[in-house]
């Protein structure tokens, strides 16, 4: 029973719980058992909150006995990226500088998860402060891809993606700044969504790049991902950039899974040189499949997407250089060298020297430079102009089609250590995902098969206009249903890493 429970989707668990076939306590225990069994190899979790999870599960079971069901996710376990503040659990952001920090408040999304009755299993590993595409930048060790333990799980939300792919949790949340949900979802063979910027609250999400950071859901199915999307999203008065509008009908769209008559644009600029042949092959098949399901497919050019990566690597580091200034040893987190011989400035400098990893330092330095007097216009200012051009590309494209599609990543999961010393190669992992972050619109990655070269999963990315997140689920669910039918089983069952 225990291993069966971990194989079930969130929707199935929800149904089993409501029928009384199982209890939240059983479900939670099953997932804690799975974590105990496999996380030594995967290292998806930085902190497992077993006692709290079981306490909460018992409470949910009590409530259900009395006829109270908080939401469809009541009693369903979930893993939370260690960038969301959580009372009663540490929040490290994968950084030494926050080692042992117990936040005194919950992120809005943490609160919404708790209110929904979802059982928070613990906090997942991530690239330090969400900077990276492999989870190798965590100060607490690398996470391994359940498809092949020698491969990266993607990043920065690699821990969340790996936890879902390793059946340690049916659902997880992450954040997407340049692709940090979609890229790990793609390389771990699961579903991940970057909602519209402002569609999900950033309050209590430790900031990397404020104008880009977007919390979003992971699941093994499109429907599960939609269920979580609906629970975690919606207006938050604590976040000024939060959109005051109803959450798009993502669950209904996932259930309908109908693309007949939809206009789908293939972004020609997101293919070609640098893309793995196996990735392009699976992507092309997925597009053909959508066409066979009744979608009208055309090619669309977004000529400024080629400048997205350089613009991103000016804007994101600029914002991060300011956002990460607060880690100064004065109020919380690490304090190094406070032995009475150093003044405050020296303690600040030494703490930041010891507390931040190489990639974080690289970006702080990049951003500090890009914002400095005399360089601002040429770097930060110019990057913002490029951002406007990319938004216009999207606007023009969405004038012709309902959604855009591309591969989620240029390649499948690469080997741990392979790109660790080559930042540029690492940055290319986010080539396809960055445009949607810069534009602030919505995008999803859904598995579309395994690359012939390495047998690793490939993601199909679907992009939709801001606040049209439901279109993502309509297309992704249709593709998922058709592809799963073709494969004869969920793709993840082919994962052989564990």
């Amino acid at each position: 029973m225990s291993s069966e429970l971990t194989r079930m989707t969130a929707a199935e668990l929800s149904e089993a719980l409501s029928k009384g076939d199982t209890t939240a306590t059983e479900v939670t225990q099953a997932h804690l058992d799975q974590i105990a069994a496999v996380d030594g190899k995967v290292h998806a979790f930085l902190h497992v909150a077993a006692d709290q999870a079981l306490d909460q599960a018992r409470q949910i079971d009590e409530e259900r006995k009395k006829g109270t069901v908080r939401s469809p996710l009541a009693g369903v376990p979930i893993a939370v990226k260690d960038v969301f503040t959580t009372t009663g659990m540490p929040t490290t952001c994968g950084s030494r500088i926050l080692e042992g920090w117990h936040p005194p408040y919950d992120a809005t999304i943490t609160t919404r998860l708790k209110r929904s009755g979802a059982i928070i299993l613990g906090k997942t590993n991530m690239d330090e402060f969400a900077m990276g595409s492999s989870t190798e930048n965590s100060a607490y060790g690398v996470t391994h891809n359940p498809w092949d333990l020698d491969k990266i799980p993607g990043g920065s939300s690699g821990g969340s993606a790996a936890a879902v792919a390793a059946y340690e949790a049916p659902l997880a949340i992450g954040t997407d700044t340049g692709g940090s949900i979609r890229q790990p979802a793609a390389v771990c063979g699961i579903v991940g969504t970057k909602p519209t910027y402002g569609g999900s609250s950033r309050y209590g999400v430790v900031a990397f790049a404020s104008s880009l950071d977007t919390p979003g859901p992971f699941g093994r199915t499109v429907l599960d991902t939609a269920l979580l999307h609906e629970v975690m999203s919606g207006h938050d008065p604590m976040d000024s950039t939060s959109i005051d509008a109803p959450v798009p009908p993502v669950v209904a769209a996932a259930r309908e899974a109908d693309v007949s008559g939809m206009r789908i644009g293939v972004v020609t600029d997101l293919s070609g040189e640098g893309y793995q042949p196996g990735v392009l092959a699976r992507f092309a098949e997925a597009v053909e499949l959508l066409e066979s399901l009744g979608a009208k497919v055309t090619e669309v050019s977004c000529p400024h997407f080629r400048y997205a990566l350089p613009a991103y690597y000016l804007i994101a580091p600029s914002e991060c250089s300011s956002n990460l200034a607060r880690f100064d040893a004065m109020r919380y987190g690490l304090r190094a060298g406070d032995d009475g011989t150093r003044d405050a400035e020296e303690v600040m400098a030494l703490t930041r020297e010891q507390g931040f990893g190489a990639e974080v330092k690289r970006r702080i330095i990049l951003g500090t430079y890009a914002l400095s007097s005399g360089y601002y216009d040429a770097y930060y200012g110019k990057a913002q102009q490029v951002r406007t051009l990319i938004i216009r590309d999207f606007d023009a494209a969405f004038g012709q089609v309902d959604v855009l599609v591309s591969p989620s990543t240029p390649t499948t999961a690469f080997r741990i250590g392979e790109r660790a010393d080559d930042p540029m190669a690492m940055y290319l992992a986010d080539l396809c995902t960055i445009p949607s972050d810069l534009a602030g619109n919505a995008a999803i990655s859904v598995p579309c098969g395994l690359a012939d070269e390495d047998g690793l999963p490939v993601g199909l990315q679907v992009m939709a206009p801001a606040m049209a997140d439901d279109r993502l689920y309509r297309v992704a669910a249709a593709a998922e249903a058709a592809l799963t039918g073709r494969w004869g089983h969920p793709l993840l069952e082919d994962a052989k890493g564990l």
Binding site: T85, Y105, E319, S322, A325, D328, A344
Partner: protein, 497 residues
């Protein structure tokens, strides 16, 4: 180190000063600028804080609309243009009392620009141009313990109180003010005074310089008379009383003149003002200034005040203090210097309130600047903090006018009101203090006095009527001051005629 100075008169004879003022005003909003924490002064350190104003990881700011409203009202009162769209910016620098190590401020898109404030100096109007009015968050407050200077360098340790962090702070920057010559220090003081009164009339701040809710940076430069270019300016920080504003400009002119006379050059720098000596000393040099790396605050959406709302705010502005002063001076028939005395004593509103409550302007002024000013002074209190209301003062004046009280009794009543014994009428009743003008009650006392002083009676009968004062005094003493002295005198003279 003793600074070489050129005497002020000599300095301003040869050099022309240009001044400029940057004034920081803590707004009196109930809650902070980006969170719901309260803003009261003097609370237990770090008791008015939350994740937002402590800048805890993950927290986000949400603008307090009241702070925008107050800033726009200040801008309108200073005759500024109000931006139809503007943004906040991050000013990045590391300092322990800045919770986020950046300050949310405004940079190239301030809320209000290009206004002016007219200031009266010696009966003449000086128009001070306003460059900009912008809104930002205040920092925490550091207390550096140990070390000689009270500054962070040399301190043994420092304590930080974040209660102040995130209180909305408005910065009002003047355009450079040339052409004031030897009047520069007085003009600077008059500007801050006028600004303070204006802000107080708007009700947007309690503008207490001693509590730091109004803080001034004073920019001063000098150039040889006849020179076409202005000199290099220094910025004297945290000049926190009206008198200090005047002294800081005065001192900088004397100091800079000495530097230039000696063939030196003025370094663009911030300087610290010393209240005790009235001098300034060098602080951080602007030439090695920090680069604040301003960029638009991505956690906030742009502010776009609705034009109709701005017009509503404009229509609801109170009368400007200068206009009000002119009107009241005419209504009260006071001289300019009387009016200045009232302003300086902080008695204008109190007198106005007393007049509104029915007293004559002369009586109102007499009580507030006389007896009550003396009491406030004795108690080291602000006049307005005395526990007596303008209405109560008006009632005392009315009782005197009606003859129920004489001045001496009136002072007793005021004492009792200040002592918390109740309103004037209650005190009169409780202490039975009314003037006795009933002849029957007075006659006996008058007869006693006449009988007790035959020699005085003799002198009066000789025509020395002034001697009657002695008998009046005796009657007053016998009646514990409650007799109507004029009536007593009449009765004495009637008896002896």
């Amino acid at each position: 180190m003793t600074e070489t100075l050129v005497p002020f008169a000599e300095a301003t004879e040869r050099y022309e000063p240009v001044i400029g003022l940057e004034t920081h005003v803590e707004l009196g909003t109930r809650t902070k600028m980006f969170c719901g924490c309260t803003t009261g002064f003097g609370a237990e350190p770090n008791s008015q804080v939350c994740p937002v104003c402590l800048g805890l990881p993950g927290s986000l700011p949400v603008i307090n609309v009241k702070s925008i409203e107050y800033t726009i009202r200040i801008g309108l009162a200073l005759n500024c243009q109000i931006a139809s769209w503007c943004r906040f910016a991050r000013k990045n620098y590391f300092y322990p009392d800045m919770p986020k190590d950046f300050q949310i401020s405004q940079y190239d898109e301030p809320l209000c620009t290009d206004g002016y404030l007219d200031v009266e100096v010696d009966g003449e109007t000086v128009r001070i141009g306003i460059e900009r009015v912008h809104l930002e968050e205040d920092t925490g407050k550091s207390l550096h313990v140990g070390g000689a200077t009270g500054r962070i360098h040399g301190a043994e340790y420092s304590l930080v109180d974040y209660n102040r962090a995130g209180i909305p702070l408005v910065e009002i920057v003047t355009k450079p003010v040339p052409g004031t010559g030897a009047g520069a220090p007085v003009v600077a003081r008059a500007y801050v005074t006028e600004l303070r009164d204006l802000l107080r009339s708007l009700g947007v701040s309690d503008v207490r310089m001693e509590e730091g809710s109004l803080r001034c940076d004073v920019n001063t430069s000098i150039a040889p008379r006849g020179a076409t270019a202005w000199g290099t300016r220094t910025e004297t920080k945290n000049v926190n009383s009206l008198r200090s504003v005047e002294r800081a400009v005065y001192f900088e002119i004397e100091r800079q003149a000495a530097v230039l006379d000696a063939g030196g050059r003025i370094v663009q720098e911030t300087r610290h003002f010393h209240e005790d000596s009235g001098t300034t000393t060098s602080g951080r040099s602007k030439e090695e200034a920090q680069d604040y790396r301003y960029f638009p605050e991505p956690d906030l959406v742009p502010v776009a005040p609705d034009a109709e709302w701005v017009e509503q705010l404009r229509a609801a502005l109170p009368e400007a203090p200068s206009a009000r002063r002119a009107r009241l001076r005419a209504e009260w028939d006071l001289s300019e210097s009387d009016m200045t005395a009232l302003s300086n004593a902080g008695a204008l509103d109190l007198v106005a309130g007393t007049v509104t409550a029915g007293a004559s302007p002369a009586d109102a002024r007499k009580w507030w600047l006389g007896e009550l000013a003396r009491r406030a002074n004795e108690a080291a209190q602000e006049l307005k903090d005395l526990p007596i209301t303008p209405a109560q003062v008006a009632r005392v004046a009315a009782l005197v006018t009606a003859g129920t009280l004489n001045d001496k009794l009136a002072r007793q009543v005021i004492d009792a009101v200040l002592a918390g014994e109740g309103g004037p009428d209650e005190v009169v009743k409780a202490r039975n203090l009314a003037v006795v003008s009933d002849d029957a009650a007075l006659t006996a006392a008058v007869d006693d006095a006449i009988a007790a002083s035959p020699d005085v009676v003799a002198r009066i009968r000789d025509g020395k009527l002034n001697a009657a004062g002695v008998l009046v005094g005796a009657v007053m003493k016998a009646t514990r001051g409650q007799a109507d002295a004029a009536r007593v005198r009449e009765l004495i003279l009637e008896r002896l005629s």
